[in-house]
């Protein structure tokens, strides 16, 4: 199997193009800030950014001017407040960023429909709400069994999906534990897939526990090894969410100039994630390590010869 290991710079340069629909997925857990920053650094433009929860990474990307449209289901800084850079271009007369809005299940169902090559996915949501009124892609559909109407959402097929994971092998067989979000569906739905990992492992590690694999290498275009690549989001078993960062972002992002300065200091002026981690400092990173281990235990698949 040929290796797909690449640098983040090369992976983004080759696989992310102006105008693309890009999904950096991961629900709180495993958000690839490293990929988002590289997309900013390479000054991609006109992107349609899809994510259930745009989070700080899309606030930063919108602030940097990479985005034309946002496809999402919850727009906020969880536990802290709003996403201020996004608010600046979505409120009042300044509403220049296009918004395409679903519920969580609607977004998950869109990815699932994309992954399964279905023209739509039915769901029991949206009844008696205003969401279908403002998003004509949410449509009623009648059951062919005469038992009423539910709603449908269309497939979402990103040009590129980026996911962060604990580990993958060089051909892209990827394993995740902890929150799984909608990464599997977003990856299968995509034309191109970038996997960013804390740790590159031998194929034998993956094959020792095949039920842990969330996506197979066959759908992966690049494997980027980027420890701390999900900071300030987290990686189960590796590091905690940097809640202080989420709180600190609030005042920064309320001020356009401060936001620009932050992007300069932490994105444009750095050449990659290693420099970012160094700038954060060992002390801050060390404090994010789990308070102790919580091993899964071993199961036996048995050898059958």
């Amino acid at each position: 199997m040929s290796s797909k290991v690449a640098t983040m710079r090369d992976a983004v340069a080759e696989l992310v193009r102006d105008g693309d629909t890009v999904a950096i997925e991961g629900f709180t857990h495993l958000i690839s800030f490293a990929a988002g920053h590289e997309i900013i650094r390479q000054r991609r433009r006109d992107l349609v950014l899809a994510r259930m929860t745009p989070d700080l990474i899309y606030d930063q990307m919108v602030a940097a001017g990479v985005a034309r449209r946002l496809v999402f289901s919850w727009l906020g800084n969880p536990g802290v407040g709003g996403l201020n850079a996004i608010r600046r271009v979505t409120e009042g007369a300044n509403a220049t960023l296009e918004l395409e809005e679903y519920s969580h299940f609607g977004m998950v169902a869109r990815y699932a429909a994309g992954a399964a090559n279905l023209p739509f996915m039915p769901l029991r949501s949206y009844f008696e709400t205003d969401l279908p009124k403002v998003n004509p892609r949410i449509r009623p559909i009648e059951s062919p069994y005469g038992d009423g109407v539910v709603y449908a959402v269309p497939p979402l097929r990103p040009d590129v999906t980026v996911i962060h994971a604990q580990r993958a092998d060089a051909s892209g067989n990827t394993q995740v534990w902890g929150l799984l979000g909608s990464q599997k569906e977003a990856a299968f739905a995509a034309e191109r897939v970038i996997v960013v990992v804390e740790e590159l492992v031998d194929e034998a590690v993956v094959r020792a526990d095949p039920n842990r694999t969330i996506i197979p290498g066959i759908i992966v275009d690049a494997v980027v090894v980027e420890p701390w690549g999900a900071h300030p989001s987290y990686v189960q078993g590796h590091y905690d969410r940097d809640n202080r960062f989420y709180r600190d972002w609030d005042p920064i992002s309320r001020d356009a100039a401060a936001t620009e300065a932050w992007l300069r200091d932490w994105v444009y002026d750095l050449d990659g994630r290693a420099a970012y981690a160094e700038k954060l400092g060992v002390e801050r990173l060390a404090a994010l390590r789990p308070s102790g281990p919580a091993p899964s235990g071993v199961v036996d698949y048995g050898e059958y010869r």
Partner: protein
Amino acid sequence: MAQPKGPAPDAVPAGAGAGAPAFSKSEMMIVAAARELAGQRVCFVGVGLPNIAVNLAKRTVAPEMELVYEAGVFGAEPARLPLSIGDPTIVTGATAVVSMWELFAYYLQGGLVDVGFLGAAQIDRFGNINTTVIGDYAAPKTRLPGSGGACEIAINARQIFVIMRQSARSFVERIDFRTSPGNLGGAAKAERIRREQGWLGRGPSVVVTDLGIWHFDEDGEMRLDALHPGATLEEVRATIGWEPKVSPALAVTPAPTAAELRLIREELDPDGMYTK
């Protein structure tokens, strides 16, 4: 899911009686909401205030309650209060961690959730909720987070609990956007529509605020059943956009116990994120 909007100026009323501990309005609200969960089996936990209320209930009135987080966790046993609803502490030691497809399709839409616990930016008398925008959708005065899972929780959880601070901006005659359906235009219509469309949910059953506890009457409308210690009907009327129904048997919410306060202050919210 919905997140209460804006700052929370939080006066600290006197304790309920001699020797009783002092507590804040937020603490009273969280304690009252937690107590409402007594006897519930499976609770879907929303971001923000629901998160602390549910975690308090799990440590007090409902130790066997299963916590469901939309992030894909069933049977969470958080060792600390999760700041977000995707915190690693809800994963370690849970009974099941699954994809969000599975969580929403099989757990929520499949009918396993007894209580969906939501916050709100605006609510009307029938418990319809807005967490999407203040003002016009196309050019809003304030862009709020949107639905998250709230819309499908409101439809598929067997009943809905709401926790939010009262204000004239949030308890409104007419919400600007209906993100999550409550009792629509009243109980009769809501019941007919739920039956026709096969909803699993029976709609909202309680709203706990910083001033009191509201349940829904036979018309599907909010009715104030209890005032928190120190709160007055005048305060309630000043922070609501319609003439509220008040129970003829209006009660006073029992003040937080020392044990409840200790759990909030020492274990769940030592930094006062929710209760400051």
